[in-house]
């Protein structure tokens, strides 16, 4: 275990910081482990399971995940920081993933980004003050023949324009 986490655990704040996985989360992770040759392979899936609860993965969750997987917390931390869809900062209730790759770029990505900025007051990487939306950059969503594209949470939207963008977002409260 890395010194960072052992420090956390031996500190006075250990109780306050102790992160409990729910029974369901634990069971889901254990079921995932069964799909692989060893528990380490379930790291990413385990982090995603944790991420479902709050929309992001707090530091305190890392040792909890490591314990279920039986691997060092530093290894889980290494994975958690490498992959861009594991969020390590608090996020809003809804995640906007606006494609910034080349086809959407040609078809008006910057205008859409500007529209979000003027209407919601957030740029890439920021969260609205009411915690409603976080705008996350994402690479090509594999929807280039219907570009510009974005995802809001798990929903994918095509052929966006400054005119239809806000009515799409309106549906997410």
């Amino acid at each position: 275990m890395s010194s960072l986490y052992s420090d956390l655990i031996t500190s006075d704040r250990a109780e306050a910081l102790k992160y409990e996985l729910t029974e369901e989360e634990r069971a889901e992770i254990i079921a995932e482990i069964g799909h692989y040759e060893n528990p380490r392979a379930a790291s990413i899936e385990a982090l995603k399971i944790v991420q479902k609860r709050q929309g992001w993965v707090p530091d305190e969750a890392i040792p909890a995940v490591a314990e279920v997987l039986g691997i060092p917390a530093s290894d889980v931390e290494g994975v958690a920081t490498f992959y861009s869809q594991i969020f390590r900062q608090p996020v809003g209730r809804h995640i906007i993933r606006l494609c910034d790759s080349m086809v959407c770029f040609i078809n008006g990505y910057e205008t859409l980004r500007g529209k979000i900025k003027s209407e919601l007051g957030i740029d890439v990487g920021q969260t609205t003050s009411d915690d409603r939306f976080t705008l996350i950059p994402v690479v090509c969503l594999g929807n280039c023949d219907k570009s510009p594209a974005m995802m809001v949470d798990d929903d994918t939207y095509s052929n966006l324009s400054p005119d239809n963008l806000m009515s799409v977002l309106e549906a997410y409260k």
Partner: protein, 460 residues
């Protein structure tokens, strides 16, 4: 039966593949598709000749015969590199004393302008599963994983549902078709890094590690996932296998146009400033012009083609004068270029080449795993230079510096193919559109900034 709810309507991939004319004899990848894109699950797939290729392969052929047929058919990898699948399969270690290994389907699909595997997986998951059963048999794999990018939530649901159907029907699991062959399959979703698509990085990622590429040798076919023989193939590659097994090599060889050394059909696309962007199953050897004009409806009103990129962010920028090129690897080989995925991008006179390249290099710089210097340092440096040129503030010598970066990150100088793919568009853009770069150099005779000249593409 299932805990998984498939997504049966509102699929993102509903598109031109669902409406183009197609037939079983000529469109092995798309003839089964429904006009409304509703996914084809087990009963429907079976009623449309599904799993007949797998049945023949497993009950009538030995694994080596399957690999030999795929080799003779000449199915080349559809993930961008074009390596012959049958050759790869014949190199997989198998035999007495060698543990059975893994079959990995590369479904990471993150290269900008790539949107073909999504369609296959959302709408026809059993075609992929059938291809994987045959490939697993040929390679003696006991387990398969579909390495799927995390954003493809509908594809994940439909694949998982189809895997359960196949398992319940005895098509996965023990003793498939009563042959004694066992194979099971899982869907593994990623968490967003382009480098995961590189086959050895994919293996590391699957094992739950950071996705750095591995040194070769050993090749995955010798020692891959968890140290066992491992085969990695693209979704579309695997989806080509069932029809070859069911219809034969001669039929497959009859599909492409004359002059093409690649056999069969290819999912091809055109996006960007075209009238009807889309995805179509077309014969290898068709010309880029035909795809653009006959399928994508030509350029949008009043626009003129300036440049196109034939197959993804990692392929060359080619001038419009190349538009009669045949879409096949030898067609592009003749001009020392690469076809890539055959999903093309059209740029018109209002698109600033420098801005588009800057966007590509930003992507590549961000996605570099950081292992080798020319990639880790060279790509961000190119972004810096390109931003300056884009703003009309390039300095004399910047273009030459970019050329040096292109040279240093070229083939053979880095650990994996990300860097060569990253700088190939840049090198070709400088070669063919040098004047647009020169226009962004401050002391040059041409003063206009490319960004100002092209208001449709503001600077970031």
């Amino acid at each position: 039966m299932s805990l998984i709810t498939p997504v049966t309507s509102g699929l993102t991939s509903l598109g031109t593949c669902n409406s183009m004319p197609r037939a079983p004899e000529t469109h092995p990848l798309t003839w089964r598709l429904n006009d409304d894109a509703s996914p084809i699950f087990l009963d429907e797939y079976r009623s449309k000749n599904g799993y007949e290729g797998a049945r023949r392969a497993l009950t009538e052929l030995t694994p080596d015969q399957v690999a030999a047929e795929v080799k003779e058919a000449g199915i080349k990898g559809r993930g961008g590199a074009g390596f012959p699948a049958g050759v790869k399969w014949s190199l997989t270690m198998k035999g007495e004393g060698i543990p059975r290994g893994y079959l990995l389907c590369n479904a990471d699909e993150m290269e900008p302008n790539t949107y073909k595997d999504r369609m296959l997986m959302e709408q026809q998951p059993h075609l992929l599963i059938e291809g994987m059963i045959i490939a697993a048999y040929a390679n003696n794999s006991y387990r398969g994983y579909i390495f799927l990018r995390g954003e493809y939530v509908h594809a994940a649901a439909n694949l998982r549902y189809a895997v359960e159907e196949a398992r319940a029907a005895g098509l996965l699991g023990k003793d498939i078709f009563g042959t004694g062959f066992d194979f099971d399959l899982f869907v593994h979703t990623g968490a967003g890094r382009y480098i995961c698509g590189e086959e050895t990085a994919l293996i590391n990622s699957l094992e739950g590690k950071r996705a750095n590429p591995r040194a070769k040798p050993p090749f995955p076919g010798q020692s891959g996932a968890w140290g066992k023989p491992t085969v990695v193939n693209n979704v579309e590659t695997l989806c080509n296998v069932p029809a070859v097994m069911a219809n034969g090599i001669e039929w497959f060889h009859g599909l492409c146009r004359e002059g093409s050394e690649d056999h069969g059909t290819k999912l091809m696309g055109f996006t960007g400033k075209v009238r009807n962007p889309g995805l179509w199953e077309l014969p290898f050897g068709i010309t880029a012009r035909e795809v653009l004009e006959d399928y994508a409806g030509g350029m949008r009103d009043g626009l003129k083609l300036k440049a196109f990129q034939p197959g993804g962010a990692g392929t060359d920028f080619l001038p419009a004068s190349n538009i009669d090129i045949q879409m096949c690897s030898n067609g592009f080989g003749a001009i020392r270029s690469r076809m890539g995925t055959a999903l093309a991008l059209a740029m018109d006179e209002t698109c600033s080449i420098v801005s588009v390249i800057r966007n590509i290099e930003e992507f590549m710089a961000h996605e570099s795993c950081g292992w080798c210097t020319p990639c880790r340092d060279g790509l961000p440096w190119s972004v810096k230079l390109l931003r300056a040129i884009e703003a009309g503030e390039g300095r004399p010598g910047d273009i030459e510096l970019l050329e040096e970066i292109v040279h240093n990150a070229g083939p053979g100088n880095t650990f994996c193919a990300l860097a060569p793919g990253a700088i190939s568009p840049l090198g070709s853009a400088i070669r063919y559109f040098r004047d647009e770069f020169e226009a962004g150099i401050r002391s040059s005779s041409v003063q206009a900034s490319p960004a100002a000249a092209h208001p449709s593409l503001g600077t970031a």
